[in-house]
Symmetry: C2
Subunit: 352 residues, 2 copies
């Protein structure tokens, strides 16, 4: 079979930019790669695999002859254009939340549930929430050994999760604060210095943490917190898993971190967990506090794996483990995971 044709929908967006970088650096499984934009005025060329590729505005006929399309666009655009592409014979891999919880759409993290990609009655495969993906990279291999029962999660999420506008707002706020060494110690001083431009956030991001990401859902849960629970259950195939998450935005540009408290069905030691994680695909173990080795955004940014460390057996429960995970939300959290799923689909078609 000839090498399949790929369309990158949203190629001019931040995650699309990382997708193009990944396509340029990974083992090449694609024949033609088409770059597609939601912007009707698109028409520039963007670099991909070492050459400049023209960017086409999205339209039904752009999908003719495409085998796989990877989507990084807002939910409403995904909801509209994914079925259009499927109609033209394309398998869509969507990074948005549009289809994640649909029962006839598999939700995939390749290292965790690659087999799920095969059954896709709607022609759509979804990638998971960026925080969930990085966290499950560490949790899933432990689950397979010890049987996961319960997750309690608290996140430290970067502003790039809110798009380029989130990054710009944090940098703007930092510029406004810089130089005044008294800020952050008196009532209201940070709000006053930052001013009214909060961008996509509900409060200042510089010198602050904001315990809110997404929209309000029942019971006071944010949509982000609800996604972490529901998507973890679906990907792990554990419909009764107990999950509580608190999602918090922090003044970091890229790199989502998660403090994980995981309760298993069997006892386990920190050393046993380290052994499992040392051999887990897509995981890098950084767990030597005396040598200042623990997962952090400054180190994880721009890298593919989930960084895992601070592994401790709970002091009061031999079946529970505490640890800390950091992953690049632009890579494994979104672009990388989507590209990996597309490669899986391509390889699997080849095998048939």
């Amino acid at each position: 079979m000839a090498q399949p044709t790929l369309a990158v929908v949203g190629a001019d967006r931040p995650v699309g930019t990382v997708m193009r970088e990944l396509l340029s650096s990974r083992r090449n499984v694609w024949g033609e790669v088409r770059l597609v934009s939601l912007d009707p005025a698109a028409g520039v060329s963007l670099p991909c695999r070492g050459v400049d590729v023209p960017v086409s505005p999205v339209a039904p006929e752009i999908f003719d002859g495409v085998d796989v399309a990877i989507f990084d666009v807002p939910e409403p655009a995904a909801e509209y254009w994914a079925p259009v592409a499927v109609e033209r014979g394309v398998t869509v891999v969507d990074g948005s939340a549009a289809f994640r919880m649909a029962p006839d759409v598999p939700l995939v993290v390749p290292e965790v549930n690659r087999q799920a990609v095969r059954r896709r009655p709607r022609g759509i495969v979804s990638g998971a929430n960026c925080t969930t993906t990085s966290m499950l990279m560490a949790v899933a291999p432990l689950h397979h050994e010890y049987g996961l029962r319960e997750l309690t999660l608290a996140s430290y999420q970067a502003v790039s999760g809110a798009g380029q506008v989130g990054v710009d707002v944090l940098h703007d706020q930092i510029s406004k604060l810089a130089g005044d060494r008294t800020l952050g110690s008196r009532p209201g001083d940070v709000r006053q210095a930052v001013g009214d431009d909060l961008g996509p956030f509900r409060a200042p991001m510089a010198l602050n943490v904001v315990p809110w990401i997404g929209d309000l859902t029942d019971g006071g849960w944010s949509s982000e917190e609800r996604e972490m629970r529901n998507e973890s259950r679906k990907i792990l195939g554990l419909p009764d898993l107990k999950v509580s998450a608190t999602c918090v935005r922090v003044p970091v540009v890229t790199g989502h971190s998660i403090a994980v408290h995981a309760v298993f069905g069997a006892e386990l030691s920190a050393d046993e967990a380290r052994k499992v994680l040392r051999n887990a695909p897509g995981v890098i173990l950084v767990d030597d506090p005396e040598a200042d080795e623990f997962p952090m955004p400054v180190d994880a940014v721009g890298t593919d794996p989930s960084w895992v460390g601070r592994i401790r057996r709970a002091m009061d429960d031999p079946r529970a483990l505490d640890f800390f995970v950091t992953g690049d939300n632009m890579r494994k959290g979104s672009a990388l995971n989507t590209v990996q799923i597309a490669e899986l689909v391509a390889m699997e078609s080849e095998r048939r």
Copy 2:
């Protein structure tokens, strides 16, 4: 009885500065207030209660005639000078970790266990860890109604917890980063921009989160995490309470936050919890996400209470509650709690 004499040991330090502010603004229960410094060259005057008070270098005779001494000094200095003061008839209220876990020293958060202040065989009363104090302000009233069984905690701790040098380092790093809007997206760029001056921290604090506070103890736990467990157990009088904490430093100047997952012995709703917390002393309820009301450092800084919000009943356990707490680590976290304990001691002596 004449108004008692107070000594403020460490009056020239950051927490001591807040102590002097509090003494100037709270109902006055003190006669003479003596300001004491560890610095042998001390001799300047510092403002307290509207007048400039001379600062004396610490010496045994400085404690003669003192009724209560509040200490904000490093542990070794507390270990040395507290017994010297007690020897001279002083009741010492110590904010450091030096005596917190000693069985013959009460560990007190006045709103939680004020009665514990009465039994102090060594003449010393300890204030708790700043993160523990803010968190327990919310947890204790719920415990009294529903019977606490288990706490899973993740903290978002400000750099002022590491002293003025921590604040200075964060401001320095922000100045170095400001203006370069590309930073935080590429491997190593933040480490390079920040340079080698990490101050008291193990890694850059600007545009980063650092999952390490304190020293290494058994099992990979940091001393801060171990303190949160052991001090919670002692203050609540629950020696078997299950506690897991992950303590993380974030780029915030002042205001420690904690994501709390609390399991109780009885079922409870978010509304019932709100009702309890609305009437709890030293707690302010900020729980309306649609109006952008949730606890945050930018709002809690410079205020006395613990700000509590994001209250949700766990989706998968009717006996568990998730919520978020922010408190000013310089006030209720340390200076305010110490001053309150000293006032308790003074009132109680008066009553005798």
